[in-house]
């Protein structure tokens, strides 16, 4: 495997809330290979959006990157001066925020907003900018006549296409999309995902897709990074994570999803309890209070175990994962956690 495009090592991001520090991301490590789509999945509050934002260093005022490295193209984005970081944004790393409505300015036409990026950041002249805007609209499947429309004149799905066009404007190497299809209906969602995948393959760009929806990840991603309570529970290829999940949390998630292809009579199995409060996380493994396989040793910090090449798992019992998977498939296993 060639050098990854992005390599995150032991990343830590903390928020200051009053006098307390909430360690929203507490030692996250993963790689993003070139030309891949990686799904960053987890529940609300697991730190996935904070990780995504930390990669561009656009984080809340009360937040700070307190440790670790973000290696991108030989530079450590966690350390480089703000001026250099700013030069990278949009040109090398583009961000599609959670709601396209929020990323577009309602008082300017879409063309104006594309033009601003293309000319101010990309250094294009007026004519080049116009041509590039038309090309971008064609790429995302919108008629170029609509460049002069305002954001409110587009439907939700179209706005998301515009947001994708904006992200692609300067040919970035990496696009970070934060829940790009969450607010959309299932048919539009599918069409946007197809478009994103097609463009990603054609342009060879890498994409990080932040989402809570494992089905969306399964549909479009090559790789996945599963986060739980500020840590990466496991990461690997899509195939490995779904057919051979090795962290008990991923195994549990697999049971909690309704599956339209599955048997009708199947019963969904919830993971009892709720994710921990990150202001005072449990000692040792953060999934311990909800884990049916927890042992005494889980009260200590779990190791990162490479269960297969390129498939690290944060679990004391990672080496037993094949046996645990069989246990985890049974509903009773999850009824009364130890």
């Amino acid at each position: 495997m060639s050098e990854p495009l992005l390599s995150v090592r032991d990343l830590r991001v903390s928020y200051q809330v009053g006098r307390n520090f909430v360690h929203a991301v507490d030692g996250a490590s993963f790689d993003i290979p070139r030309g891949s789509i990686t799904g960053l999945v987890g529940e609300s509050g697991c730190g996935k959006t904070t990780v995504a934002r930390a990669l561009t260093r656009v984080i809340a005022e009360n937040a700070a990157i307190t440790g670790g490295q973000i290696l991108f193209d030989g530079k450590d984005l966690a350390k480089i001066p703000e001026k250099d970081m700013n030069a990278l944004r949009w040109r090398d790393i583009a961000f599609i925020p959670q709601s396209a409505m929020n990323s577009l300015d309602p008082v300017y036409t879409v063309e104006y907003q594309l033009d601003e990026v293309l000319r101010r950041r990309g250094g294009l002249n007026r004519k080049q900018s116009r041509a590039r805007s038309e090309e971008l609209f064609e790429m995302v499947g919108i008629d170029a006549n609509r460049l002069t429309d305002y954001p409110h004149q587009f439907s939700g799905g179209m706005r998301q296409r515009v947001a994708i066009a904006l992200a692609l404007a300067l040919d970035p190497k990496l696009i970070i999309a934060d829940e790009p299809v969450t607010a959309l209906d299932v048919i539009v969602q599918r069409q946007i995902l197809d478009q994103l995948k097609e463009l990603q393959t054609r342009l060879g760009v890498s994409v990080i897709l932040v989402t809570h929806d494992i089905s969306v990840v399964a549909y479009i991603c090559d790789r996945t990074v599963v986060m739980y309570a500020g840590k990466v529970a496991e990461s690997g290829t899509m195939q490995a994570a779904l057919t051979a999940p090795s962290h008990p949390y991923t195994m549990g998630l697999r049971n909690a999803f309704p599956d339209l292809q599955g048997a009708a009579a199947g019963i969904l199995t919830p993971i009892e309890g709720a994710p921990p409060n990150l202001a005072s996380p449990p000692a040792g493994c953060r999934f311990k209070p909800r884990c049916p396989f927890a042992l005494d040793i889980c009260g200590t910090e779990p190791p990162i175990v490479e269960v297969a090449p390129g498939h690290p798992v944060l679990c004391h019992r990672a080496n037993e994962s094949a046996a645990l998977r069989i246990e985890a498939a049974r509903t009773e296993t999850w009824m009364a956690p130890a």
Binding site: D185, H212, A218, A256, F257, P258, L268, T269, P270, A274
Partner: protein, 339 residues
């Protein structure tokens, strides 16, 4: 586990009442939009949120109302509960037309037909304790004070909140989303309704807790013999809780039938696209393009004839000229000129 008054279905309706609990015929909900200025310029339009919808719901049946945003599923649910006044057609609940129900009759109807809200964080007054939240409907229904505490505990047990007594004096912000949605459910059930409309009750919850709330919903429904409408855009969820599904598009019913049949072999071209679009947690799924045109349904400006025809791959001349009427096809009803 059965508390006082919470009788299982078997005892409750011993076939004395008619089989149909809710009967909807040609229901319409039209809004005038655009306001005064648009009217002055002759530009005001009518949005037909629900436009000529008919169906019956049997006692004890669970029906999913499925569709994309703007299809009228939530409006339909609100019509059924008389939270919105219909602008046409009839809706009978337990043999009685609900349009005319007023005063004490309305109060009685409200205790029999309840709504489970979508967002538990919005549905509960943050300044009420859980006890106050659950006492309010009992107060409105004139349940004597001394009975209330027991009813509250029973309702919380019903939705499987462990050790309910410990929650009574807590405020909503002390509870997790999953716990709060159970409280919302308990509040809807505390007056022992016959009929509940659940409007996307788990869409705000994380996946790991979603399954728990869905299981409680199924369990409570079966134990109380409830008749239920489950409104959702997610066919996989509807399939998990409802034996029958009604698919809506731009205010009309496209297809109505047993959920399993619809999932296995959708008939209406819209349902076909909808079923194909649902992502599944399996990396080897089909990536075929969807059999549907681009764009989004526009409730302000629906096409003539069949409202789906501008996105339909099978549309022909007749679809523009004539509104397809619902036709029985096997186990189902389908509104499409192909059948």
């Amino acid at each position: 586990m059965d508390g006082p008054g919470m009788n299982p279905a078997t005892e409750k309706n011993v076939n004395k009442k008619p089989d149909i609990l809710v009967s909807v015929f040609d229901a319409k909900l039209h809004y005038a939009v655009g306001g005064a200025f648009a009217a002055m310029r002759g530009k005001s339009t009518v949005v037909k949120a629900v436009d000529g919808v008919s169906f019956d719901i049997r006692r004890g049946e669970s029906v999913g109302l499925l569709g994309e945003s703007g299809c009228g599923k939530t409006s339909m649910g609100r019509l059924l509960l008389k939270l919105e006044e219909k602008t046409g057609g009839t809706i009978h609940f337990d043999g009685e037309e609900i349009g005319a129900v007023r005063g004490s009759g309305l109060k009685k109807f409200r205790s029999k037909a309840q709504l489970i809200f979508q967002n538990p964080f919005d549905a509960i007054n943050p300044r009420f304790t859980i006890r106050q939240t659950l006492a309010e409907p009992l107060e409105n229904a004139d349940i004597p004070r001394r009975e209330r505490e027991a009813r509250i505990i029973t309702a919380l047990e019903l939705v499987k909140l462990p050790e309910p007594a410990q929650f009574l004096d807590r405020y909503p912000h002390h509870l997790s989303g999953g716990q709060l949605q159970r409280v919302v459910m308990a509040r809807a059930l505390i007056l022992q309704p016959e009929f509940v409309v659940a409007d996307e009750p788990v869409s705000m919850l994380d996946v790991s807790v979603r399954a728990g709330v869905l299981n409680v919903f199924r369990d409570v429904r079966d134990r109380l013999g409830l008749t239920a409408i489950y409104i959702s855009h997610d066919l996989a969820l509807v399939r998990y809780v409802c034996e029958r599904t009604i698919v809506m598009y731009l205010g009309r019913i496209m297809e109505d039938g047993p959920t399993e049949d619809i999932v296995r072999e959708p008939l209406h071209p819209y349902t076909k696209a909808l079923v194909a679009a649902v992502p599944v947690p399996n990396p080897d799924q089909s990536h075929e393009p969807l059999p549907i045109g681009r764009g989004a349904p526009d409730p302000r400006n629906p096409p003539s004839g069949c409202v789906f025809r501008d996105r339909c791959p099978a549309a022909h001349a007749r679809c523009a000229a004539e509104v397809p009427q619902p036709k029985p096809v096997g186990t189902r009803t389908v509104a499409c000129h192909l059948y």
